[in-house]
């Protein structure tokens, strides 16, 4: 159970965690991590080093103080012993003097080795008038120092320690120790003295312990240094402030403090100690600077080590940091590549890979956005639905590569035809859509559509050929023609189909009527799929008559659709649809088979050898199985091939001429006749026309219609007939509706004609009876 007081606890934790985690991950960034570690290591190294040197310093202090005290203790003992030995000698000599003369006494003592080594010590005996009476040193001359003498007079008993005196001969300082001679019960009668060179008392100076700047010395209570040594430098006779130097009483746990020694202005660990029983004090000192120099060397060593370690740490960290940074970068790069890949994948998902235009999915999104914008700012949109005319034929004849190239060129032209803010997308196949998001009223779309038509109409150069294509455009407006994507698209599509029906290469705005037309078309298309099975197609036949004799010489089979609901449907209405959805091929096959069978049936009934003309659609003509279909139709029906005439249009043969020629030759080999339908409406050149193995040309009804009124059409018709004649072709006039027309054609030696004037298309039965009638008339 969570406590009711803190209901937010559970939510709070995950909310703060990402921030903390983010900060932590920031810390793990190589530059920060390694800088931090470096600083940490350096801090550790230097803290340890400084700590160590401080300790070293302290230890050195203690060591030096202790060493000074130790040295002082040793020195004190040595001085005391030396002084006592000297005093003992004095006492011994004085004692011996009681038993004989001075010279004898000294010789006796010396021979018994009771005197100190003459090497260093000189024993001298003076009389009451300070004259030397005996000496161990033969050269000792002159008198006893006068100061000592007066002191001797004053002191009753005890050793007098004289002031240091410089030996005039050897220039060395000497110290005199003396005692008065008082034979028992007598007055002062002289003195015995021991002199020794002052350096003797400081010969224990050890450079190892005291260094070059230490001090070892004896100072009298009078403040006069009896001797003092620093390094190899021995001096004597200088004075100092005794009270300041030597403490009154030696403490038990005496320590050596650093003091400034006034005689040579040197700071030393100094011990000064009054000697027991003698008016002297020892002075021992260790130079602070000198000893610190040793510590300083150690400290410097530590510092260098620390510096070396620091450098190593920095180097290692730099190397590690660099490696880590590179790793980081590589990881980032991999991440970027992944993102780029994802972006690429997304791009591919939303773009047509052939033209790089937005695809249907992206366009759908853009359209939805556009509609939202338009709704918010109360604007209009125009949606243009484009479908290339004849694209399938091009794709089939020139190949997919050429088709793709064409689509790319078209997309470039489309983009060039609109503003940058307009959106061009490819929905697939040859369908494009264009969204014009910034228009205020529908009429603004018209110039754009015109521009697009013109752009697409410019000739293309593909696979080494120049040719033209066109596009049909349907325009739907938002919001009047639809307020949602689906409706708008559907209505633009409907408008586009209308443009197709209007002869292609144009644009149409959507309207409600179009919608109903379109519904009809949709119904047709769906019912067409079942029409073959349901046997809803019918063939009508229109007779073809000889111009001169007026006899029926053949017929043209015409397709009609007997729709169960809509009644009879004209080919104009459904054949384009069938062309588009490809049903024209099976339908065409059915037409061929039915026409052939009908022809044979009539032959068997006893009809004359009437020719049967069958129209081939463009799609059928391009179909690979055409020859097989024709063969099987003839074979199954048993129809004579020379009675079959296949009608094709000019535009069909002009497309891929080598193939057409090959195909036509194959057909000719089968003895099938070939007719060019609607001759004059296309733009076939006469020179190429003769390349084809043709039998018949059929003059288009539009020329014939106005032949009575239009001199121009008359001229054209005459010319066409002349061309046909010169190429030895049968010339057929279509759509002959009046006597005048027939007369004109007859006058110009047209071979055959067909049209309402004689015969309109009729169902098989009707046609048969009309033929029978004519046959009877003839008979």
């Amino acid at each position: 159970m969570s406590s009711p007081e803190n209901p937010g606890d559970g939510l709070e934790a995950p909310r703060t965690n990402p921030a903390v985690r983010h900060r932590l991950s920031r810390l793990l960034d190589p530059p920060i991590l390694f800088s931090g570690l470096t600083v940490l290591f350096l801090a550790v190294i230097w803290t340890a080093t400084l700590n160590l040197t401080a300790r070293e310093h302290e230890a050195a202090n203690r060591r030096d103080a202790a060493l000074t005290v130790d040295t002082a203790n040793t020195y004190e003992a040595q001085v005391l012993r030396a002084l006592r030995e000297i005093d003992n000698t004095l006492k011994l000599v004085r004692y011996r003097l009681d038993q004989g003369p001075a010279t004898e006494a000294l010789d006796d003592l010396r021979s018994r080795e009771l005197l100190p080594p003459e090497y260093l010590f000189t024993v001298t005996i003076v009389d009451a008038r300070r004259r030397v009476v005996a000496s161990t040193h033969p050269d000792t001359a002159g008198d006893m120092p006068v100061m000592d003498y007066f002191q001797l007079l004053r002191e009753d008993d005890g050793m007098i320690i004289g002031l240091p005196r410089r030996d005039p001969e050897s220039e060395e300082w000497r110290l005199w120790f003396s005692r008065r001679i008082e034979p028992a019960g007598q007055q002062y009668s002289g003195a015995v003295a021991v002199s020794v060179h002052a350096g003797y008392f400081v010969s224990g100076y050890e450079a190892e312990a005291l260094g070059e700047r230490g001090v070892l010395g004896l100072v009298g209570t009078d403040g006069v240094f009896r001797v003092r040594r620093t390094g190899d430098d021995v001096s004597a006779g200088t004075t100092t402030d005794y009270d300041a130097l030597v403490p009154e009483e030696a403490a038990d746990n005496e320590t050596a403090e650093v003091r400034l020694n006034p005689w040579d202005d040197t700071r030393r660990y100094t011990v000064a100690r009054k000697l027991f029983d003698f008016p002297l004090a020892i002075v021992v000192g260790l130079s602070e600077a000198e000893h610190h120099a040793e510590v300083a060397v150690i400290e410097r060593t530590y510092m260098w080590r620390a510096a070396g370690a620091s450098l190593l740490v920095i180097l290692v960290m730099a190397v590690l940091g660099r490696m880590s940074w590179q790793l980081h970068k590589a990881r980032n790069r991999a991440m970027e590549e992944r993102v780029a890949h994802a972006q690429r994948v997304e791009y591919l998902a939303y773009h047509d890979n052939l033209t790089d235009l937005p695809n249907r999915a992206l366009f759908s999104r853009l359209l939805t956005q556009g509609m939202q914008q338009a709704r918010r700012y109360d604007k209009r949109l125009a949606l243009l639905f484009l479908d290339l005319d004849r694209f399938k034929a091009i794709n089939d004849s020139l190949g997919h590569e050429a088709g793709d190239e064409l689509l790319q060129e078209v997309s470039r032209r489309l983009i060039a035809s609109v503003r940058e803010s307009d959106i061009v997308a490819r929905l697939g196949g040859d369908e494009f859509v264009i969204l014009l998001p910034e228009i205020n009223d529908g009429t603004q779309a018209a110039p754009v559509a015109d521009k697009i038509l013109a752009a697409v109409n410019k000739p293309f150069s593909l696979a080494g050929q120049d040719f033209r294509i066109s596009v049909s455009i349907g325009v739907a407006l938002f919001p009047v023609d639809g307020e949602d994507e689906q409706t708008l698209m559907k209505h633009a599509d409907i408008a586009m189909y209308h443009a197709k029906e209007e002869g292609k290469n144009n644009f149409q705005f959507y309207s409600e009527e179009l919608n109903s037309d379109s519904l009809e078309r949709l119904a047709l298309e769906s019912s067409m799929r079942n029409a073959l099975e349901n046997d809803e197609f019918r063939l009508f036949y229109q007779s073809k008559q000889d111009m001169a004799t007026g006899r029926i010489i053949g017929m043209e089979a015409l397709l009609r659709w007997q729709h169960p609901d809509l009644g009879l449907i004209a080919p104009m209405k459904f054949i384009p649809l069938a062309e588009e959805n490809g049903l024209i091929v099976p339908i065409g096959r059915w037409v061929l088979n039915t026409a052939c069978r009908q022809n044979v049936a009539w032959q068997e009934e006893g009809f004359p050898k009437l020719s049967m003309a069958v129209n081939l659609s463009a799609r059928q003509f391009l179909d690979e199985n055409l020859l097989d279909d024709v063969k099987s139709a003839l074979h199954e029906s048993g129809m004579a091939p020379e009675l079959l005439e296949l009608e094709i249009t000019e535009s069909m043969i002009m497309h891929d001429m080598p193939r057409t020629i090959r195909l036509l030759r194959e057909l000719k080999k089968m003895r099938i006749r070939i007719a060019i339908d609607d001759f004059g409406t296309g733009y076939s050149s006469l020179s190429t026309l003769k390349e084809f193995p043709l039998d018949t040309i059929k003059i288009d009804g539009s020329f014939i219609r106005d032949v009575a009124d239009s001199a121009e059409d008359r001229g054209l018709t005459e010319a066409v007939i002349a061309v046909g004649k010169s190429l030895s072709l049968t010339v057929v006039a279509e759509g002959v509706e009046s006597l005048q027309q027939a007369d004109f054609l007859r006058a110009h030696s047209c071979d055959q004609f067909q049209g309402f004037y004689i015969n309109k298309p009729m169902a098989a039965e009707e046609f048969a009876s009309s033929v029978r009638e004519q046959l009877r008339d003839k008979v």
Partner: protein, 143 residues
Amino acid sequence: MINPVRTLRGMLSGLLLGFAAAAAAEVVVVVSSQNPVEALSRAQLADIYLGRLHRFPNGDPVIPIDQKERSPAHDEFYSEYLGQSPAQVKQHWSKLIFTGRGQPPRSVSDDLAAAETVAGNPNAIGYLDAGLVDDRLRIIAIE
């Protein structure tokens, strides 16, 4: 072996000491002829005279006999054989005596006294002018 350089130096120092010493005194190290020691190294000799060695190499105790300071043989002996000045020797003994670690050798007044003392004690070793060496003494080689 007598080094000619040393001989020359000895001669020079003899000259410096005075024209009276026309005998060009050469100081030699001697022991009693009863002493079996034939030779000593320079270092052994120095150790004996500086109080650091108290026995001959064969284990017998050694008693070094010195001569008085400032006698001709003394100075020459110390400078020639020990390579020490009188002041250095004095400082050495000064320190040893002061610190209580030794006593200097007994010293006699001259070469004759040295000859007598050494001849009278098989454990003694001394130095004197080569001209004063007799049957009772034996010169030992210093290598």
